[in-house]
Amino acid sequence: MKDEINEEHSKHEKHDIQNKHNKRDKPGRHGRHRFHHDHGDELLKVEHLSVEYTAGKKTVHAVNDVSFDIRSGESLGIVGESGCGKSTIAKAILRILPDRGARISDGSIYYEGLDLAHMPEKKLEHIRGSRISMVFQDPMTALNPVKRVIQQVSSVIALHNPGISKREAVKRGTEMLKRVGITPDRSRDYPHQFSGGMQQRVEVAIALSCNPDLLLADEPTTALDVTIQAQVLDMMKDLMRQRNTALLLITHNLGIVAETCDYVAVIYGGEIVESGSREEIFDNPAHPYTIGLFGAIPDINTDTDRLQPIKGIMPEPTELPPGCKFHTRCPYATEECLDEPVPVAELGGKHKCKCHNISAVKANQAGEVIV
């Protein structure tokens, strides 16, 4: 019953947004994007998204020409190291990039055909939080330090369910907290009284409390212990099944992606270097960076004396090299990687890889030559 009401509410809301928009259908900031878009069955469709930061005189190209889509009920995992731009993608979708200096420089973000990238702020507020919600990476900064956790959960519930009593909101909030493993006797505590793991669970509870259509989760379980992580991930998967919620999971943990996501996009230096279905990526990784990531994690089932880290560190986003962004660390780099733009190769199915030397990498992998 509750769900029905919610759905009706959201339909109405969506209608409202579209209506209002038809009245003054002005083009986006750049004047070349249509506000509406035939969206097919994609819930979220990101096309050629680029995000820039301006820091002093330097321009940081945090996200470069990134495209992907998610359908209802599907989950996409974006895997990459810190500084690769994966969090920026999520922030760009909700347009919560820092006010000063950050801007979506190109591309579109269609949510049910509405371009979030160029939508007026007022209209975006109807979507943000209730239709698309987000779990942040750092619970310390995401929670309000001077409000009790139950207040924080119930105020979100009250905001997105106008008309329910305060008592009802608190009741639902307590229920939500229980689902993430926080007992009612702790719900009146302040965030600083919780461990990092518990704080993150509160955050997950807040994000899930409005039953969103799309959940953006930015390293949601990184601060959690494995048993709680398993519970939180199971809970997210349950929610997705029950309500056909789509999930965009941003993480560095390949294990979590393997267990949670239908599709995977590996990102490096602000670009998607490889993408495909879970099976395609985990069974046949094609990009040297993806292969390197697999070599760098200890495996629970095999003994290795020494891990094979990817050499070097991620270049600063201000100093991304021309050509392939990974060539400075890549064992397969050839001359053309240094400055030629890298084409995206289709490897069958949904599998795509952005690399000059796919065949050389493949041959090397098949021969099991360790580079």
Binding site: S195, A230, N253, G255, R278, E279, D283, A296, I297, I300
Partner: protein
């Protein structure tokens, strides 16, 4: 191999308005020289408190700490600095545990100056050597923490810890905040340093695959108590405690074709404030019986493999049949 560090019946309680919070309750551990003891458990299980208690950042409520055979539980003001040269810590968060106004040089210089072996003349070479050892390029000597990447910051943290040439380092989640490829670099660095200087590590983490990779022995903690201690590989092949089994089954695996039997834990963590004397895991344990309400004893069921569960023997007949029968004597 001999025991470098031994802790016996360590307790650390915190007085709360509602009663005593049993953060660490009666924990025994032996750290063999030159080996790594992995300590795993959920947040709030007391693993970090234990690490801090061992290196004297906190005073134990009860129990004894023996370092090289000496009782160092309550060091005097004069003894403590000497002890600190032997026992160091690497913290989880390289972003918060470096002084933001100290350059790399300042951070590394401080322990060197405090060291009793300090000689002003070769301070400069020592810093250079340290930076070299932990893999920070000389160019970054005057860099402030905010100018460094996470991995480099953790390298500075490691450099600070090994500056005094300690024998024992408590590593409190040293790689948890780092990226996968950087994690591997830091793990390799820690292993190299161990080989070179014969360091003894206490490696506190929640990442089971990392702990399996780096540890010689692993201790599993639950709500302040030790539930299982075992040689590292054996913990995974012959898991005796029901909690350890649940913990291991929860690890996300990159093997997408191997469906896992996940032991989902029911119930919630009980409050660590004034807990009942019985097994603290009993409320969530699928095998809980009446006997679990009694206090549990750590028993050696297999050589070097201790478990604190009164039902461990009957639950693992296959593993325990060839166990040590002479143990009782």
């Amino acid at each position: 191999m001999s025991a470098l560090l031994e802790i016996k019946g360590i307790k650390r309680y915190f007085e709360m308005p509602k009663g005593a919070l049993h953060a660490v309750d009666d924990v025994n551990m032996t750290f063999e020289e030159g080996t790594t003891m992995g300590v795993v458990g959920e947040s709030g299980c007391g693993k970090s408190t234990l690490a801090r208690t061992i290196i004297h950042l906190q005073k134990p409520t009860a129990g004894k700490i023996y370092f090289e055979g000496q009782d160092v539980t309550y060091p005097s003001r004069r003894e403590l600095p000497k002890l600190r040269e032997q026992m160091q810590i690497i913290f989880q968060d390289p972003y918060m545990t470096l002084n933001p106004r100290y350059t790399v040089e300042d951070t590394l210089k401080e322990p060197l100056i405090l060291s009793s072996r300090h000689q002003k003349a070769d301070l400069d070479t020592q810093i250079r050597k340290l930076m070299d050892m932990v893999g920070i390029s000389g160019k970054l000597r005057m860099a402030y923490p905010h100018e460094l990447s996470g991995g480099r910051r953790q390298r500075v943290g490691i450099g600070r810890a090994i500056a005094m040439n300690p024998k024992f380092i408590a590593c409190d989640e040293p790689v948890s905040a780092l990226d996968v490829s950087i994690q591997a670099q830091i793990i390799n660095l820690l292993q190299d340093l161990q080989k070179e200087f014969g360091l003894t590590y206490m490696f506190v983490t929640h990442d089971m695959s990392v702990v399996r990779h780096i540890s010689h022995n692993i201790s599993v903690m639950y709500l302040g108590q030790l539930v299982e201690t075992s040689p590292a590989k054996e913990l995974f092949s012959k898991t005796l405690h029901p909690y350890s089994r649940a913990l291991l089954s929860a690890i996300p695996s990159i093997n997408i074709h191997k469906p896992k039997q996940r032991v989902l834990l029911k119930g919630e963590l009980i409050s660590p404030i004034n807990p009942k004397p019985g097994c603290r895991f009993a409320l969530r344990c699928p095998y809980a019986a009446e006997t679990c309400a009694n206090p549990q004893k750590l028993e050696e069921l297999l050589p070097g493999h201790f478990v604190s569960c009164c039902r461990a023997r009957e639950l693992n007949p296959a593993h325990c049949a060839d166990g040590i029968s002479t143990m009782a004597t």
